[in-house]
Subunit: 621 residues, 2 copies
């Protein structure tokens, strides 16, 4: 299917952006309040007089007294200058002076008080401000005024300086301002500067000052999805120059700051040549787990999921989840393959499923109840309705389906899982009965060989891998409607064993492993369950409004996306739910153009430079 | 093209094995010699009497004297036993006793001599053997007899024991025998045992004794191509258990023994999970270069070539060089792609070039003067005659050609090179003139982008990468027949510079980088030249009998294979030459079914389990 696209802008297969925004983010506006004024009580006899303007008059009066050095009862000595002012005014305007004058301190009685920590000019500015509400903040004095205002607790002046600084932010001064905010724990200013640095990271990372950034700030900035980098290598090099700036002091901090560098997203060659060979990295054994995670990700792809495998917003790649084939209303079969990008809220159709573009609809292959999985960013699909042997893999870079070696045993309602960088095809239905056969694929030799068979023959079960073990959950066994058994395979012993059973017997279910739990959904369960391999225990995560038999579930953008399925009345469902494990919240993400069930759903990393012209007839027989 | 094959046995596209064996290995048989006897001199008067049997009679006589203790002039005291014998007999049979009795040593005069280092029973056996030529070697006494015979220099007895041991070799005793041979520096026995261990490695590596193997022997055994392992992982695990057996002593030897483990051939996942994570490996910084080589090989394939990237004989994979397309006699174009395996002396045709199987010959694409290179074991081909833009890649595991993104600038007589895990397309001819444009391919984004252009516009040049730099050699520049310029690109500076010029101006040439030199052949040079990037100097390697314009050259099995080309009379050549850098020898390897020139020639690692049924129509549009 020919897709045309402008350079740099993602266009949808068909316009959906509107529908995506629709029901989800209603903006609320607070009614704005006008400043108070003369308010009459209705019954006419009494008047609540609220003279908003009086405070200004009062203040002018105080200023005039100060100008005439009248009734002044304290002299603030700063450097060589002396400022006479009124204790009561200072106490009213500043908690610092309030504490000084109202508590039983010696200053309470002294006529002349020596003030440290501020220069005369800044004192002059602050006193003028106190008595006139006016002050001239300039690039030259803002830092001194802010520090003094913070010291004497002139909080409104502190905010004024902070917003002055926020406006004046530029690549050269932002780090300095950040340190200022840090030392005086001005949290809102700090947040503003941090998001400025995040947005303008590329211009800032080369500045000298950046190298003096405190470690926590650096750690926080590097964690952000919105960090404006097009290549993760820029992030790695920033961290390394930051450490190299003060090696003795900062080598021990390397694991902490490296934690937020998304090493798996680095170009594999760059990773080997620059990261692996970096002398500091080689001297620091604690970073080993981070290196191993990246090494395994380069070999296996999504089998390794962590906050470091999610592309950042401005990198030319995006984590997307796919809806592959399946069937829709009135049992029509779906040949389309759709990529959904929750971060950019876009939907894109890619190359149709193989053997689905014959003139005669009846000749088209029905990709239903097949199995699918991602290995090294390629989507493998196998088998399908009526005991198929076919195996194809989809390469999203070249947007093509490519056939690989047939399965030894044709099957459907089975599952595929990636474990230790190898694809496993597990169980399913061979047209006669449920089978326990398991096959693994060797990509170099392009051949399937048998692995240890299941303990219980099942079909329409859920399956996924988690920390070097493979889990097969529930499904329909021979001679029974459904089972609650959890079967677990350990490749190091090549043995299957039973783990804690599910809370319910269920089939037509799907599972994904995310962070340290396995999530299961579908069947007649009307709920999302989670299994903890560590504790070998199950728990209910959340109820669902409807049954979702044969729905899809895929981890993407640090959330779980549940797609389609069949409700209690066996109707196809078109909505996509989103479960946010951190916020523990279930939301309806969007509505698909049409309902779908018995489809495949996986996650891949998709290139986002632009859609180049892709010409049919692109692969030889 | 459907290829059928039995399980486990490679069958040729067409029977060729005969022709390969033909002209190359004539076996010679030495005439056998009969033992000497009575020889008459022709003229009848004198007879040269050579009584071969006399020595036996003499020996029996001496034995009888010994039995009767007659004329015995020395008593050898061994433990509590005494052996009286004749000095002259002992001296004649053993250099040890000759030295003892003939030199001015005290033993020369002593009647009774105490003999150390041998037990009575063994002495008895040796003396019987000396006087009767007979001895009974058994499993129980062979070690003691051999040690004594070696001590007393009964060399024929030593050999007899050695061959007894060689016959009796089994997985349990071979290591012991090897140590025996080692300590007594019995080189021939040592060699025999080493080759026994190499042939039966899998059974032996688990034996306890294996862990006591001396380091040099282990190092030697692991180096062998014939080491009987089907998976390189078996070699790695052997080395690690050998080191772990005496860690304190052997950790420092790890880099030395690991040197002969072919880490690049390990399954990439096994490499990350087991090798990278091994505690001893992580404690040993000196192995870093070996790890880096494997990491880069997993990313880039043949850009990294060393003794460790060549599969061993019994592993289910083989290094093969390919002959791709080109043209043959009377300008007919070749659509076939052939793999030649020098180790197994086999030739196999694989999937034909893309777009070459139309009914109408004229519609077929003419794959001539295109460029080709291997990246991550996939063969990339681009452009070709009449300014083509096509780019395809061949995956040998699934035996398919797959189209990828077009070149920005169509070209032919250009070259492709892999550098830093990236494919570069360089210069060439765009139908009008030679160009200096260089493009690089990003596999993830499937797009070509421009890189720094050549200094000199050239076509039909030679090009290769060597230790992180790219070299463009000779070729036809605009306005001149040929050039001798060597252009060098350094990606770290993104700059081209000129290096030492070739000894001759030449075009229609090809180059490969092998170990620390770049070899160039072809054009009208009638010779193979080599360039040393280290010394930036050229030298003549060897003359060739004919010109070989537009021939192919590929490194395989630690040798260089030069294929086809055009001779002085512009006739296509069918022979394949082999240059062995170690032996500095040029040999004619084999003759192809037909001559070929302007073809592509690269090296890949090919799976050797078996040819499974590969069905046409295997890739979706």
């Amino acid at each position: 299917m020919l897709m045309a696209g402008q350079r740099g802008a993602w266009t949808m297969g068909d316009v959906v952006e509107k529908s995506l925004e629709g029901p989800l983010a209603p903006s609320t506006d607070e009614p704005s309040q006008k400043t108070g004024d003369l308010v009459e009580i209705l019954n006419g006899e009494k008047v609540k007089f609220d003279d908003a303007g009086l405070s200004l008059i009062l203040q002018n009066g105080l200023e005039t007294l100060r100008m005439e050095n009248a009734l002044t009862d304290v002299i603030l000595c700063v450097d060589i200058q002396e400022f006479s002012c009124h204790r009561v005014v200072l106490a009213a305007a500043s908690n610092y002076f309030r504490a000084m004058f109202c508590n039983d301190l010696k200053e309470k009685y002294e006529k002349r008080i020596i003030i440290k920590g501020v220069d005369a000019e800044t004192m002059h500015t602050l006193l003028d401000y106190t008595y006139t509400s006016k002050a001239l903040i300039t690039k030259q004095n803002v830092q001194r005024v802010l520090e003094a205002a913070n010291l004497f607790q002139f909080l409104r002046m502190v905010d004024a300086c902070a917003s002055f600084l926020t406006e004046a932010l530029n690549p050269e001064n932002c780090v300095g301002i950040l340190r200022l905010a840090d030392t005086h724990s001005l949290d809102s200013l700090k947040k503003q500067v941090q998001s400025y640095i995040i947005q303008n990271f590329v211009q800032i990372l080369n500045s000298e000052e950046f190298l003096d950034l405190p470690v926590d700030t650096l750690h926080h900035i590097l964690k952000s999805d919105d960090l404006y980098v097009t290549e993760e290598a820029q992030v790695f090099e920033t961290v390394m120059s930051w450490v190299r700036h003060k090696p003795s002091e900062r080598l021990c901090l390397l694991p902490y700051v490296l934690e937020n560098v998304r090493l798996p997203l680095l170009d594999p060659w760059y990773f080997v040549e620059t990261v692996e060979a970096d002398p500091l990295i080689r001297q620091c054994p604690e970073v080993f787990p981070l290196l191993q995670e990246a090494r395994m990700y380069h070999l296996s792809g999504n089998e390794i999921i962590s906050e470091r495998t999610k592309p950042r917003m401005h990198e030319f790649q995006s984590e997307v989840f796919m809806i592959i084939g399946g069937c829709t209303k009135d049992e029509r079969f779906v040949a389309e393959v759709t990529c959904l990008d929750p971060l950019r809220r876009s939907r894109l159709e890619v190359a149709k499923l193989p053997l689905t573009e014959h003139e005669l609809e009846s000749e088209n292959k029905k990709w239903v109840e097949f199995a699918c999985v991602t290995l090294k960013n390629e989507v493998y699909i196998s088998g399908g309705k009526e005991t198929q042997h076919d195996v194809w893999k989809y390469n999203s870079s070249i947007n093509k389906w490519i056939q690989i070696e047939y399965l030894n045993i044709g099957r459907w309602r089975h599952k595929m899982v990636v474990l230790g960088g190898k694809v496993y095809v597990i169980g399913g239905f061979d047209g006669l009965q449920r089978i326990n056969n398991v096959e693994t694929y060797d990509p170099f030799h392009n051949c399937w060989s048998e692995a240890a068979p299941l303990l219980v023959h099942v079909s329409s079960f859920a399956a996924t891998s988690h920390k070097k073990k493979l889990y097969v959950i529930g499904g329909g066994p021979n001679g029974k409607l459904a089972t609650d058994k959890t079967q677990c395979y350990d490749p190091s012993t090549n043995k299957w064993s039973l783990k804690a059973a599910m809370p319910v017997e269920a089939k037509c279910i799907n599972a994904v492993s995310f962070r340290d739990r396995i999530y299961v959904v579908g069947g007649a369960m009307r709920a999302l369950y989670a299994y903890s391999p560590l504790e070998d225990s199950w728990c209910l995560v959340t109820q669902l409004s409807h049954e979702r038999a044969s729905c899809g579930i895929a981890p993407c953008n640090n959330r779980l996306y549940i797609t389609g399925g069949r409700d209690e009345k066996n109707e196809v469902i078109a909505t996509v739910l989103c479960w946010d494990p951190e916020a523990q919240k279930l939301t309806e993400e969007c509505v698909l153009p049409r309902g779908v069930s018995h489809h495949g759903s996986v996650t891949i990393r998709k290139s986002y430079t632009h859609i180049r012209r892709i010409v049919p007839g692109a692969v030889s027989v």
